[in-house]
Amino acid sequence: MGKPLEYMINLLTKEHQPEKSSLQALAKRLLIGFFVLMLLLTVLSRAADSVTVAKVRVSRMKSSVLNYELSGDGTIEAETEEYIKLYEGARIQSIEGKPGQSVKEGDLLFTYDLQELEAIAEDLRNEYTILQLNYKIGRLSKETLESANNEEAAEIALRRAEFDLALAKKDLDAAKNKINENISDRLETAKENYTIAKEAYETALEDREYAINKGKLELTKAEEPVEKYNKARQELEQALREYRQAVQSSSQKLPDPVEEDMLSSIDAAALDLNIRDGDFYKSFVMIDDSYRSFLNTLFTGSVSSYAEASSELDALSKAKVSIYKQYYGEKEYEKHAKEIQKAKNALERAKEDYLLTFLATIETGAVLTSAQKAACMRTYQDLYDSLNELTEKDQKLNMALSTYGYAIQNKSEAEIEASYQALFTLLYDEEKQKEVKTAQELLTEKQKDLAKLTSDWDRTVEKAERELYKAREEYDLAEEENNQLLNKTYDYSEETRSAESQLEAARRSAEDAADALEQARANDGKIQAANQTKEEIDQLNLEIRELELKEKEEALSRMEELIDAQGKVFAPVSGILLRLELSAGGKVTGTEKVSLSKEDYGFHFKVREKEVKYLAIGDEVIITPQNSRKGITANIDSIGMVDSQGMSEVSAALPQGEYGEGSIASYTIYKHSKQYHQTIPLQAIRMDANQVNYVLVVRESNTSLGNVLIAYRVNVNVLEKDFSTAAVESSMGSRDEIIISSNKNIEEGDRVRIYEE
């Protein structure tokens, strides 16, 4: 196993040997051989092609008519026959004529047996008598059907129904009138209610507005003091802020305020009345100086008027003035300042009085008595007390301001805040706060009152508004109903249901009565018509009997004539005895016929169904009888229907002449159609599997063989055709060459060659 495998591998993997030149030479030889072969095959294929290419004959389309020629054979027949009546049951005694024999009028044809004839005549007589009697019977018996008199009763019923209808209409009208009145009343009432509701609503609106305005006014009044207090508080806070700023920006160092009891200091410096005047004077002046310094600290002592203060003071002082004004009120502050000034002046005068007294004593060299000293001191002290009393509040305020100012400059923020609160509490005391609170409470109360008032009045107005809308709706509804009444579009059906139903019932009754009347009339009419019809039938029967009678009479008369003629039957007209289906000695059964032909003939022939369409009544037919060479021209006078065998019988009347009845003749008919623009030979038309007609047209085509003739298909619509040509509709041109025949089967796309014979 290993060795073959190894061999295969060696074979496949051995070194490539240089190719010998045999491949090149082989390729060269093959190439040359190939071209030679191709040359040979070129010739062969051309030769084969020349054999296989179909040769065709062509024709061009042209404008022409279609010619139809019909020919064939037919028979000449007599057109009219005169039949001779035969008596059934009669025996034929002898026959003198022969079928096909030409006879003249009056020639003897055959003879009946007389006895048989007489028997038949007797039967005829009896029949005649019976008919006569029946006729009499018919004349006598005439009866009518039932009489017609239902109309009257129906008319009465109708009149009653119409009366009921009129009554029902009246009731309905009355009901409608009542409704109209109600609607008018409702409209008036609704209008009134609406007006009242509208007034109430407008009144409510006005009252509401008035009450609310009043409430608002009271509220505004209550708001004023609150605003005033708030404004005052804000001004106070602003004054305090300004004071703080003034302190912070002032270069003046404020001392730590200490509360002094000046009155005690004055008491403590109670004058020793017994001391010398000079010492007393010194003590007095010392007290006065202390007091002055105190007054200066009060500051108000140096304020004479606001205007004076504002023009002379620094920022700190202005801030203080502002605070004082906030504390007292501006006018009060001015008044207070004047009182203080007055008290100070009085105190000054008391001091001056003492000094004057003291000076007077010095001039006189006298001494003040103790009483005088005491009196001066008392006067001064009283004035001082009153001034102190007057400045009690100022003292407190001043202390608080000083404390605050000192705190601002020296103390912590908490202490500043504490001193600020103390100052603010002094300025905005409880009483004032109470007043503010009261004013605010009053304001809140007024606000509540106003809200309640507004709410109450809103409810009132809403209620009035609802009433108004309701009244408006009712009014609109009433108005609409009224308008419907005026426009005559109001629907009374709901309210007048019962009256209308009664009216409807009455109407139906009236209609039924009318129908019944019609029916009664119709029935009466029918009855009359039936009676009339019966009369007519009777009359007709009578007439039939009369005719039968007459006929029988005639037959009897003929029979009697025949009997008188000894049973001989003669030819009534001249002509050919066509039929004589009798036998001598035989009885007439009723199926035999004896007839003579009048001297007019017709030519009858049959044509196929597809040929019938070419024929029309009046067309000329050339008829050539069998034994004649000369043709007879006749015209078609009738064309029969196509029978089950697809044939149609055609006849043409022959001119007067002698013809052999039943003889055969040939015919020829020539017909032309109208002019057609496109006619082609019939053999050019082909049909495919889909029953579509087409032709093959030869056209030049550019192929690898150059310009060759190829057959192309062109569909055509065949309008009409005769036996050799077809009239078509197509897209062909007059120069197109249509293949009409070929030497082999060809199809579209095949190469062809045209050849002429």
């Binding site: 591998i9 390729a27 190439l31 191709m38 070129t42 294929s45």
Partner: protein
């Protein structure tokens, strides 16, 4: 070593099979009847459903397609001869024009040589579609449209043979030429007696490639030839319908034959030419 060779052989065989498979299908298809072809590939051409299939050998081989083409299709042969009339003069003309041009590029020095050669290369690589309109206008002006010369003349003046032959002429040793010059040979003699014989590989390979190019050309005939009587064989094949599939297969085989034989004839020269172009002196 043997293993490597075996592997190389197997790999190359596989590639060859892949390349040869369509050709084998074409050859076997040319021996199949219409029924068998319809069964196998009818689905692809709209006849029936399913997939196309093929077999190595036909189930019912027949020569009917060959007979139909070679004997019953006279239109095939004019197209074949048209191909011959258009390609062979073209190839010969190429030799006439391209040979001296290639020799000049290979052996002479002149101003603008590189630029001119570059132009040749540019023209060589330009596809037909680019020059189609200008070629059409020129041929129309020269009144050569719808004639064989519409294909022959552009082919004669093709630049590709110049490129191939120039490479081949460059391979001729300079010493040989100088020796000839010393012996008194003129330029024409050198060209005819040394250049052409020594450059045979390049000449024949250029001819073969030129023939293949011309034989298989489709765009130029369709563009420049209106009359079907002038169409070459390459235009016979585009119309393939199921009814003519067998004939188309045969036509493909016949069309392939001259090209194949010509290639086999010049194969050795083409290989030598490719080898020569790779070797540097």
């Amino acid at each position: 070593m043997k293993g490597r060779k075996l592997f190389s052989f197997v790999l190359l065989s596989l590639m060859v099979i892949i390349i040869w498979l369509p050709i084998w299908m074409m050859i076997t298809g040319s021996f199949m009847g219409l029924t068998e072809l319809t069964e196998r590939v009818g689905a692809v051409l709209g006849y029936g459903e399913g997939y196309a299939s093929w077999s190595l050998l036909p189930d019912y081989p027949t020569l009917k397609p060959y007979v139909e083409l070679l004997l019953d299709s006279p239109g095939f042969f004019p197209m074949f001869w048209n191909s011959c009339f258009q390609v062979i003069p073209g190839v010969l003309g190429q030799l006439l024009i391209a040979l001296p041009a290639a020799w000049s590029f290979a052996r002479f020095r002149f101003r603008g040589k590189h630029a001119l050669f570059l132009l040749y290369i540019v023209l060589m690589i330009m596809p037909f579609q680019v020059t189609m309109v200008s070629s059409y206008l020129v041929l129309d002006r020269l009144r050569l449209m719808n004639s064989h010369f519409a294909l022959i003349l552009p082919m004669i003046f093709s630049t590709f043979p110049v490129f191939i032959m120039e490479k081949s002429f460059q391979g001729i040793p300079l010493a040989l030429i100088e020796a000839a010059k010393i012996d008194g040979a003129g330029e024409l003699k050198i060209f005819l007696n040394i250049g052409i014989p020594m450059g045979t590989a390049g000449i024949i390979s250029a001819s073969v490639l030129g023939f293949l190019e011309g034989w298989n050309a489709v765009e130029q005939p369709i563009t420049f030839l209106r009359d079907k009587a002038l169409w070459p064989l390459s235009l016979y094949l585009p119309s393939i319908a199921i009814e003519k599939l067998g004939v188309a297969m045969v036509a493909s085989v016949i069309t392939m034959m001259p090209a194949l034989l010509f290639f086999l004839f010049g194969q050795r020269y083409i290989e030598d030419g490719i080898v020569a172009s790779g070797i540097k002196e």
